[in-house]
């Protein structure tokens, strides 16, 4: 094992996705010696499937969202045999933001007070107002595009760049919402509508969720890493961390990682920040069990790996009898709706869903949507009209709020391992009855929207089994060490120089797409690390 005394970092960051990028840049820019360990490597804009005309076939397998399908060297397998859904992620510089749609809604004020307002789950230890300044600074740093004044949020919310055009599909969707009298607003996206720093102006390729060939989506590899590297940070790719090492004093001492050739290294550091997502982070904490931490690192509460929340998605794709130019991006959300976000009297469930309308790029993708039809309504003479429908589609999709349940877990699989022989995560996840009701409700509302907009044919999907990329809640924050893993700054209650700064620290999930909140929490955590450096023996 390599262990060079002269390479003790002030901070080692594990994972280079949005939270890892924010933390690394924030600390490196303040003079800290930061080393980030990333198990994947760089993906170039020319690599992405949208560069090729057969992109719709490429995304079915080799560029699939599901790491179990993709099986790249950077990926690790997930045992989903006891799970109602199959979580997805991407392992590379930039993390899963390589594949996210860059929808960028903030959590709403009610999200931080679910126990107080609705009598379920728990309140966060911070409020909307606490986090909003960090949201503002992240938005300004990466160039978020949106329209200020959304009445779904408190006054004062605005964005640094103007929104994207609604397009024909967005205007058609909005017309339906207006007919129903329901809230909608032009989509907020971390996709610059004008050139912004390293990010190009959006060129509306429409393939945001399979990588942007234009470098015009704020994935962390473009939005944060050029700045982090210029600030002096060290990024080691092909570095798979298998354990966080602890010293005799119980504090984190560094990270043991495995390089591309299988050799082990110890990266010593005065502080450790884990940014490995809501599955990778609890996996690593459980892998880091020791005599002093027999149940896993930072796990005296027993809550590491529990309360997994996945934002079950549902959708209704509608096809219309007019050309909506549905190949055109961004996708990205054209419009969003918070109409059914909060608990309402009369509903048979608590909390709610965020709805978003997207285009439907690609004729083969349109064929795939139609596969629920009987054979003769898709194949044979019917295929010609199905193919033409690609230009006439709108996808309404919903993230549903997923309440925490300790029975939904990430544990270490007893037999499955990754390419380095490290135990893989096992996912146990069951959809609650509350969520089932919410999914059905959301599908019914989206059918209503399509009807109000004039759709001629709709295709509901009550659960996207293979598409929860929102990995949340498995090392929750809180004031009480008995009922939470970290404090509101992501500092582990049990290990004072260990921080978590990704979706694992969410208390509840809300139903807004989480990367906006993850990034703001990471900025807040990083500044806290910097501010308390003396206590953490971190020499600035």
């Amino acid at each position: 094992m390599t262990n060079r005394e002269d390479e003790v970092a002030d901070v080692v960051v594990i994972g280079s996705g949005p939270s890892g990028g924010v933390v690394t840049h924030t600390l490196a820019a303040r003079g800290f010696r930061v080393v980030c360990l990333e198990q994947g490597d760089w993906v170039n804009p020319t690599d992405y499937p949208a560069n090729y005309p057969e992109w719709e076939l490429l995304i079915q397998k080799q560029w699939a969202h599901d790491p179990n399908d993709r099986g790249l060297p950077a990926d690790y397998p997930l045992d989903v045999s006891d799970s109602d859904m199959w979580p997805v992620m991407f392992n590379a510089v930039g993390g899963s933001s390589i594949y996210y749609g860059a929808e960028w809604p903030r959590l709403l004020p009610s999200d931080f007070r679910v126990r107080t307002l609705d009598g379920v789950a728990d309140d966060w230890p911070i409020t909307y107002a606490d986090l909003a300044p960090y949201n503002d600074r992240i938005d300004a740093f990466i160039g978020v595009s949106g329209l200020g004044g959304d009445p779904a949020y408190p006054d004062g919310l605005d964005y640094p760049l103007p929104p994207h055009p609604l397009g024909k599909a967005g205007r058609k969707a909005a017309a339906g919402m207006n007919a129903l009298g329901w809230h909608w607003w032009p989509g907020t996206n971390a996709i610059p509508s004008q050139k912004f720093k390293e990010l190009s102006q959006c060129a509306r390729w429409g393939t945001c969720e399979w990588g942007c060939p234009e470098s015009s989506k704020a994935s962390a590899d473009i939005a944060f890493w050029p700045h982090a590297l210029r600030s002096g940070a060290t990024l080691i790719t092909g570095a798979r961390v298998r354990k966080i090492e602890t010293g005799s004093d119980g504090r984190a001492a560094g990270a043991i990682w495995i390089d591309r050739d299988g050799a082990e290294h110890l990266q010593r550091a005065h502080a450790v920040v884990v940014c490995a997502n809501g599955i990778g982070t609890p996996r690593l904490l459980l892998l880091s069990a020791s005599a002093q931490h027999p149940d896993g690192l930072a796990n005296s509460s027993g809550l590491v790996g529990k309360n997994l929340m996945l934002h079950p998605n549902c959708s209704v794709t509608g096809f219309y009898d007019e050309n909506l130019e549905s190949w055109r991006g961004p996708a990205g959300q054209l419009i969003h709706s918070m109409e059914f976000y909060d608990t309402r009297a009369g509903h048979d469930f608590v909390r709610g869903a965020k709805l978003q309308a997207l285009p439907t790029p690609g004729p083969l993708n349109a064929v795939e949507v139609h596969r629920t039809l009987p054979y003769d309504q898709l194949w044979g003479a019917a295929i010609h009209d199905v193919a033409r429908s690609h230009a006439c589609g709108i996808l309404w999709a919903a993230n549903t709020e997923d309440l925490p349940d300790e029975a939904n877990t990430v544990t270490l699989d007893p037999s499955l391992t990754d390419g380095d022989g490290i135990p893989a995560p096992k996912i146990r996840y069951r959809i609650s009855e509350n969520t089932r009701k919410l999914l059905r409700f959301a599908v019914e509302r989206m059918e209503e929207i399509h009807a109000a907009s004039g759709a001629v044919r709709t295709f509901p999907v009550e659960l996207w089994i293979d598409q929860p990329g929102h990995l949340l809640g498995t090392a929750r924050m809180g004031h009480d060490p008995a009922t939470s893993v970290v404090d509101s700054y992501g500092r582990a209650h049990d290990v004072p120089n260990l921080f978590l700064a990704d979706g694992s620290i969410f208390v509840t999930s809300g139903s807004a797409n989480p990367t906006c909140t993850i990034s703001a929490l990471a900025l807040r955590a990083a500044e806290h690390v910097a501010a308390t450096a003396k206590d953490q023996k971190v020499s600035a």
Binding site: D41, K61, Q62, I98, P109, T116, G206, A387
Partner: protein, 165 residues
């Protein structure tokens, strides 16, 4: 969009290798795929059958490469057809659809995918492909400023207070 690197391509951890079928299709396999294509995508009205499209066979090879993961399952099914008549192909496809939906998905995606890659089909169905298509500077404001948001704004705030404001 292909480049070469002296000494071989670098190892990529997060990027898949360019997929290619493990071997070229045999002429019998190409014939079987063409027969399948014309059952799944027959001539109808003004629409030609799939194999009538120029260069269909070339795009078929590219589509098979893109789903090389399913090459074994696809060629195994092709081997069962063995110069079957169109009616028998139709029956075999319906049976595959009913009994082995995963294999039918891969086979039909390759065939339909190849058809949809041909430039004549893309022209006919109005698909320009995914491409650079940046918005005009005023495009968003033109679309938003015409009153479409008026009812939303007129309704006023819709969020639930957390009690702290």
């Amino acid at each position: 969009m292909t480049t070469s690197t002296p000494g071989g391509p670098p190892s990529r951890l997060s990027v898949p290798p360019k997929f290619a079928a493990p071997r070229p299709l045999t002429s019998a396999e190409v014939s079987a795929l063409r027969a399948i294509a014309d059952v799944l995508i027959p001539a109808s009205g003004d629409n030609p059958a799939a194999t009538s499209e120029p260069d269909f066979d070339a795009w078929l090879v590219r589509a098979v490469d893109a789903r090389a993961d399913a090459f074994g399952a696809i060629t195994a099914f092709l081997g069962q057809l063995d110069d079957a008549a169109a009616g028998a192909v139709d029956q075999a496809l319906r049976a595959l659809h009913a009994e082995q939906p995963g294999q039918f998905q891969a086979l039909s995606a390759v065939v339909a995918g190849a058809w949809l890659l041909t430039p004549t089909v893309r022209d006919r169905i109005g698909y320009p492909g995914q491409r650079r298509d940046p918005a005009r500077f005023e495009e968003a404001v033109d679309q938003i400023s015409g009153g479409i948001l008026d009812p939303v704004i007129a309704r006023g705030p819709v969020y639930t207070s957390d009690g702290t404001d």
